[in-house]
Symmetry: C2
């Protein structure tokens, strides 16, 4: 549970992995070869990054003959959105508290 959120944050920490995820979000399903070509790194490196993204739930893979196709799963971003929302809400709640204090001081 807390573990999966950690996987998510960690997976997105690497710029190369984010670039792969962005490509898949923007360009749809693509083969490992298609992802490797413009990446500037070796094919094994791409495969490893995809494995990390898959473990975090951010991508899903599919085999077709001798190629593997990967597609983005942006729904996996939900925990991240939740977390940022919660942090912001804490923040706003503190402002509300401050408002309360100020209002009480007015009286």
């Amino acid at each position: 549970m807390i573990e999966s959120r950690d996987l998510l944050f960690r997976a997105l920490a690497d710029p190369t992995r984010r670039a792969l995820f962005e490509r898949l979000c923007e360009g749809g399903e693509q083969s490992v070869g298609a992802l490797t070509a413009p990446s500037g790194i070796s094919q094994p490196a791409v495969s490893k990054h995809l494995a990390v993204l898959r473990q975090a739930g951010l991508v899903a893979g599919r085999h077709a003959g001798r190629q593997s196709y990967y597609r983005a799963q942006p729904a996996a971003l939900a925990p991240l959105v939740d977390w940022t929302g919660r942090m912001t809400r804490f923040w706003e709640a503190r402002f509300d508290d401050l408002d309360d204090v100020l209002k009480r001081m007015d009286q």
Copy 2:
């Protein structure tokens, strides 16, 4: 520019740093000592994490006598929210494209 987003993602990749940020969001401004006590790690480690968070813009520091107080700056999360939104929008756009294709096939 693109650098700052990387700082942000990387800063949030570590669970200890996220915990510090959460504490500051939830509990408001706190001294290094107050943050160290329940953290389970040494004071220098906390100081270094706070430096990373500060470089990412996620916290701000203030000196008062011999103590340093830090507070959260959740507004720094904005680029992250933007990014997740963009990724999700790409995704939805692709669904729209698929809808178009299906509608054309119906005709």
